[in-house]
């Protein structure tokens, strides 16, 4: 209950910020952080809580994005319906990937490779079939209005991503306070022991990947509606998969607030590097890579772990 209260306070604070922040630059930053936090929390549900490291979350993200875009552009279906359809389609792709991998007991790097391969297959497919616009991409016509899930003012997009991120964070909170979450974490920490206690590995992991896929798909829907343009590289490219895993690894895997910390830290980092290096291509990827190595070597529990360590030090340092 305590973590739920903190979560409520954090999101309430984030929610009132736009009342004070009028500059679009700041609002854009908030949107970027919440968007990354959503992507990261989606990955965290499967990777952090479930211990299944995916390298291909773009498969779910891109499916959400393309679903809402294609339904609008090709079939004239309202993006609010597209949002639901996008999340559902992403969940379906996740279920398929999960059924294929978990059924055959794929774990660790094998699972990571399968997810990576899946995202690549979808990228190539979306590059070749006509209804996605193939390599040219797909452009959603500009038509601002809440009924079209498009907003003339940035604050509309802020509320959209705020609500989506809140849903993802509530889901992650629920994992820490439910049987399903307890089982997911038990499988992560010791699969044999969990099965001995009646935990169905296949069913729970499938639940985990579907949940994860749905939120990744939501992030894709947001991306499509925000930028109104998609192409195979943007939707299914490895950049999304990397960002998805980098955010929670930096912030703290398997923790509720890790993805938010990671998203904020990475945003600051990318702004700083852009100030220093400009938009030189490849620089951000190189820095991400270095950061990942640093975190894995020195901060295995991410920034959230850093907080825990210093809190413990403070307690220990206090005179008895």
């Amino acid at each position: 209950m305590k973590t739920l209260a903190i979560l409520a306070v954090v999101f309430a604070a984030l929610g009132v910020l736009p009342l004070f922040v009028v500059s679009d630059v700041w609002l854009n930053s908030l949107i970027a952080v919440l968007y990354a936090a959503l992507l990261g929390q989606a990955w965290n549900i499967l990777g952090g809580y479930g211990g299944q490291f995916s390298f291909g979350h773009a498969a779910f993200f891109g499916t959400g994005a393309y679903t809402v875009a294609v339904l609008q552009v090709q079939y004239g279906i309202n993006p609010w319906i597209g949002l639901v359809a996008g999340a559902a389609a992403a969940g379906l792709v996740a279920a398929f990937v999960g059924a294929l991998s978990f059924r055959y007991g794929l774990r660790g790097s094998y699972f990571a490779l399968v997810t990576l391969a899946f995202a690549e297959v979808l990228r190539i497919l979306s590059n070749s079939v006509p209804f996605t616009g193939a390599g040219v991409g797909i452009l959603i016509p500009l038509d601002p209005g809440a009924e079209n899930l498009q907003f003339a003012h940035k604050s509309g997009y802020f509320w959209m991503i705020w609500a989506m991120a809140l849903a993802a964070f509530l889901a992650a909170w629920w994992l820490g306070h439910s049987r399903f979450g307890a089982r997911l974490m038990a499988l992560r920490d010791n699969e044999d022991a969990a099965r001995a206690l009646g935990v169905s590995a296949l069913r729970i992991k499938l639940g985990g990947i579907v949940m994860s896929g749905v939120f990744s798909g939501l992030a894709g829907v947001f991306y499509a509606q925000h930028y109104l343009y998609l192409d195979p590289g943007l939707a299914y490219g490895p950049a999304i998969s990397v960002e998805s895993l980098l955010v929670p690894i930096v912030g703290g895997m398997g923790t509720l607030f890790g993805p938010l910390l990671g998203a904020a830290a990475l945003h600051v980092l990318s702004e700083v590097t852009r100030d220093i290096f400009g938009d030189a291509p490849g620089i951000s990827l190189a820095i991400y890579g270095a950061l990942l190595i640093f975190i894995v070597m020195f901060l295995p529990h991410g920034l959230a772990g850093l907080g825990r360590i210093s809190a413990r030090r403070l307690i220990r340092a206090r005179p008895a």
């Binding site: 439910s178 044999d192 022991a193």
Partner: protein, 248 residues
């Protein structure tokens, strides 16, 4: 019979780990399985609880054929095992560890946590509930193994060397815990090397040697059985022992 194992075999590559093993366990009893290291005891537990599929033979639990079924399904039917090499959910608290078991028949988090506390009290881990499972001593970890399994409300529990590595006073502390589990109506099958425990706890013992059940009976009788002594101490040992110090 709550558990009936008949003619179960399993080989790993060329190695026959369990060969035509059979045993019948009556409801409400404490029975045990003994045998030298590598005899196939742990493998037999794994065959009974679905962690390995037997090459031949049948496992019937509570009237239902469970041969080759998944461990999680067998656990749901009420038969759980512990692991000789303890398998805690490291990084989680003792409370959360036990709650995983408690959740088997308790969907609500609150109920599972309450059950975890109750079981912790039963096995003497009540003051460790908020400790990381990985930080427990050997004796603590063995108790946690029992607690996780017990929290599932099993009908039958298979305990694999839960007293190995404990000092004599720790063994003395664990024995009444196991007796209390049985008094609550749970049938128990023990694998144990600690003969003190086998003698004081179990009413019937099966001896496994090179994968085969070579003898069974009350433990005190088996300790005098030449076949059993040979299995433990080697060929010719029974007759030599008998010559040197005939059993009264």
């Amino acid at each position: 019979m709550i558990l009936s194992v008949s003619g179960v075999s399993k080989s790993f590559g060329g190695l026959q780990a369990v060969r035509d093993a059979s045993l019948d366990v009556e409801q409400g009893r404490i029975v045990s399985l003994i045998g030298p290291n590598g005899a196939g005891k742990t493998t037999l537990f794994a065959l009974i609880t679905g962690f390995h599929k037997p090459d031949a033979g049948r496992v019937v639990f509570n009237g239902e054929d469970v041969t080759g079924q998944a461990p999680e399904r067998i656990a749901r039917l009420g038969m759980v095992r512990t692991f000789q090499i303890v398998q805690p959910f490291a990084g989680q608290t003792v409370r959360d560890n036990i709650a995983v078991g408690a959740h088997l028949h308790r969907p609500a988090r609150r109920d599972a946590l309450r059950k975890a506390e109750e079981v912790a009290r039963q096995v003497g881990l009540a003051d460790r509930l908020d400790q990381d499972a990985a930080s427990l001593t050997v004796a603590g970890r063995k108790r946690l193994e029992v607690a996780k399994a017990l929290a599932t409300d099993p009908k039958l529990i298979l305990l694999d060397e839960v007293m190995a590595g404990l000092n004599p006073s720790e063994v003395r502390d664990v024995i009444p815990i196991i007796q209390a589990i049985r008094e609550n109506g749970v049938t128990i099958v023990l694998i144990e090397h600690v003969m003190q425990a086998v003698m004081s706890l179990s009413e019937h013992t099966w001896v496994l040697n090179q994968g085969e059940t070579i003898a069974d009976g009350p433990p005190a009788e088996l300790a005098r059985d030449p076949v059993v002594i040979e299995a433990y101490l080697g060929h010719g040992m029974a007759t030599r022992l008998a010559e040197e110090a005939p059993v009264a």
